[in-house]
């Protein structure tokens, strides 16, 4: 029982991070029909910005975090949108997919060349000391990861539904043409989603890197898993990304524990194929919207 609980709780904590990354995916997809194959690298890179702040610029850890966040928002949000998405999107979706794949390689190789191929330790935001919860070891870090992800979903949902800017962003996502006519600054709204995506990726980066360690290749599986989470949950719903992320995190651990460790990597993939074929709108998604 304690083993089950252990695996379940750890899965939830990991899944919460997947969810953060998946939410960014969802937002950018809705606003700009952009599927970012470099999303995993977007999570890998901010940790390196922080390390640059600490080791090269000599800033303190918390200032470096702020530095990392700002640089991420500028480079992975603004620059990404202006320099890559905007010029390539008119050439078609497949072209953009390939461009973001190339971007992924670019980020990965740059991190490696400029910061070394070896993993780097990354200071913890929260203590990782275990707390015993009914026989399962849970760290404060796990609980905070979970809490922060849930908090982000709640805040984002409130922002999108309760504020004027949020509603403009929603209108843009649903129908940019109509939104434009209604006087919404569509371009600005789309830009906001890219900035939010970059901020979420940076947040996810800061949360996971203490455990995953800063390494150039960290994004490889993370981006894929986050995308799977987004699809499984439902691509046109923020809460879908949350459900998908948590589900994948838990199922991955359960499979490895009780079914097969050799094929644990297969489970999310099989789930992805099944969902796409049977219920492309995702578990909690609605069939309307642009996802299908």
């Amino acid at each position: 029982m304690s083993q089950f609980l252990q695996v379940l709780l750890s899965g939830l904590a990991t899944g919460a991070v997947y969810a953060l990354v998946a939410i960014g995916f969802t937002l950018v997809w809705q606003a700009a029909q952009t599927v970012n194959f470099a999303q995993g690298e977007f999570v890998m890179v901010p940790a390196f910005f922080v390390l640059i702040g600490m080791h090269w610029l000599g800033l303190s850890f918390w200032i470096s975090l702020l530095f990392g966040l700002v640089v991420s928002i500028v480079l992975l949000g603004l620059v990404f949108k202006k320099l890559i998405v905007e010029p390539i999107l008119p050439h078609g979706g497949i072209t953009l997919i390939i461009a973001t794949m190339a971007l992924g390689i670019l980020l990965k190789e740059s991190a490696k060349e400029f910061y070394g191929a070896e993993a780097q330790p990354f200071p913890a935001l929260f203590p990782g000391d275990p707390i015993n919860l009914f026989g399962a070891a849970v760290s404060l870090r796990d609980l905070l990861n979970l809490g922060i992800s849930l908090g982000v979903v709640v805040l984002l949902t409130l922002f999108l539904n309760r504020t004027r800017t949020g509603r403009c962003m929603q209108a843009t996502a649903q129908n940019p043409g109509v939104a434009e006519i209604l006087g919404v600054d569509v371009k600005r709204m789309v830009l906001y989603t890219f900035l939010i995506n970059a901020a979420l990726a940076a947040l996810a980066s800061f949360l996971i890197t203490p455990v995953y360690l800063a390494k150039f290749s960290n994004g490889e599986t993370l981006g894929l898993i986050a995308f799977i989470a987004a699809i499984v949950g439902g691509f046109n719903q923020i809460r879908g990304a949350l459900v998908g992320g948590l589900l994948i995190g838990v199922l991955d651990n359960l499979t490895a524990t009780y079914v097969t460790a050799q094929y644990r990597a297969a489970l999310p993939l099989v789930l992805l194929i099944a969902i796409i074929l049977v219920r492309p709108q995702g578990l909690v998604g609605t069939s309307e919207g642009r996802a299908v």
Binding site: S2, Q3, Q6, V7, S10, G11, T14, E109, K112, G116, A117, E118, A119, Q120, P121, G128, P130, A137, S139, I208, V211, Y212, L213, K215, F216, S217, N218, E220, T221, L222, G249, D252, N253, L254, A256, T257, A261, Q262, R264, A265
Partner: protein, 398 residues
């Protein structure tokens, strides 16, 4: 009808046509390439080909291997080179791709190298050693998979003991020191991990110890909760951990979190400086059998190596760095002994060769190669205490 078909195919033919000039350019490039790449192999230099995993998944190992080798080349040149000639070491990046590595070993040989230094990943070495063999070029490899020396290749030599030598050295530790009755094994599911795991299971069987739990994990896996939870509930007397660096660190972090009570014993990697740096306090108490370790500073050669490596590259050397270093120095020693760069003579000399630190200080520890290229030398048992690895016992060469 014919006329129409001609006209109809205009669009497509256009595309055919468009490609022409480019093909021409490429052709020119193709022809120009080999000409440019045959650099001057003057009589005054000896070329060693460093073929390694400089990018891709193997980059952490490959770059250390290269830096160790680079350091050795600098030292060798300072000491008069090989056969009195200056040593050059062109570098070839395999991108951690066995097929590319094979091509690059071929390329290095085409460009006139007299020995290959690399590769580290066994998957690559298994492929590219065929090429070195065909060309009778000696090759020092950093790979530890048992199969490498089992293929009857007289030109391949290890720079560290293979898993089938290193892992059995642990058996007395499990049996006599830990007095384990039942053990578990956690390993990374690639050719490196599987090799060590297979040897371990066979060894435990011979020693009459039950392997009650067998936990494979993925390369680059990040979440070890399930792995550790499984080990915890199976509750063996000790766990053998056989993974690459970051994986080892992540495993140790999770093991500490779930307070895995039994000793964690590894081969080489588990107590490396990098792992300790990454895992922090979670590495405390981890035990490993280490062929040659940069932390065995009571050995004077190793202390000197570690010092100058850190000065040159601003970081601590890893096990792979020592291997690359030993590979280059071994090449120098043996070639100087043979008196020429001939591969066949080199191969003959290597059979059963023993190099003593007294005569050849840069070999770091007394080292012997058997007639298959397997190496043996004294080794250590090491435990992490107070944040750094401490030698807790010596293991004689086997």
């Amino acid at each position: 009808m014919k006329r129409h078909r001609n006209r109809f195919s205009v669009d497509w033919e256009d595309k055919v046509g468009r490609s022409k000039n480019y093909s021409g350019l490429l052709l020119a490039a193709l022809i120009a390439l080999p000409v440019g790449s045959v650099s001057a192999q003057t009589a005054n230099t000896v070329k060693l080909g460093m073929v390694g995993e400089l990018s891709g998944a193997g980059a952490p190992s490959g770059t250390n291997w290269r830096d160790g080798a680079r350091l050795a080349v600098t030292e060798v040149n300072a000491a008069g080179g090989i056969l009195g000639k200056k040593v050059e070491m062109p570098e070839y990046d395999t991108q951690t791709d066995p097929q590319v590595s094979r091509a690059l070993v071929q390329k290095a040989i085409d460009e006139g190298v007299v020995a290959i230094i690399g590769t580290v990943y066994s998957g690559s070495t298994l492929v590219n050693m065929l090429v070195a063999k065909q060309n009778s070029i000696p090759q020092f490899v950093g790979s530890e998979a048992p199969t490498i020396v089992e293929r009857g290749n007289p030109f391949v030599y290890r720079t560290s003991s293979g898993a089938q030598k290193g892992v059995p050295a642990l058996t007395p530790y499990f049996k006599d020191t830990l007095k384990a009755k039942k053990v578990g094994v956690a390993w990374v599911n690639n050719e490196f991990g599987r090799g060590g795991r297979n040897v371990f299971i066979a060894e435990m069987k011979k020693a009459g110890i039950d392997v009650i739990i067998d936990v494979p994990s993925e390369q680059a896996q990040t979440d070890y909760a399930a792995d550790v939870a499984k080990l915890k509930s199976a509750n063996p007397d000790a766990v053998f951990v056989y993974m690459n660096q970051e994986e080892s660190a992540r495993f140790l972090i999770e093991a500490k979190k779930q307070t895995l009570p039994m000793p964690l014993v590894g081969e080489v990697t588990l107590t490396e400086a990098k792992v300790i740096e990454l895992a922090g306090p979670a590495a405390e108490g981890a035990i490993a059998h280490v062929g040659v370790t940069a932390t065995a500073t009571e050995v004077p050669g190793i202390a000197a190596f570690a010092k100058s490596f850190e000065e040159t590259f601003k970081r601590k050397p890893t096990h792979d760095a020592i291997k690359g270093y030993v590979g280059v120095w071994s090449t120098k020693y043996v070639m100087d002994m043979v008196g020429k760069t001939d591969g066949e003579a080199f191969s003959k000399k290597m059979k059963g060769l023993c190099l003593k630190v007294a005569d050849h200080p840069k070999i770091l520890l007394d080292t012997c190669w058997d007639d298959r290229g397997e190496m043996s030398r004294p080794s250590f048992m090491v435990q992490v205490k107070g944040g750094s690895p401490v030698v807790i016992g010596a293991v004689p060469a086997n």
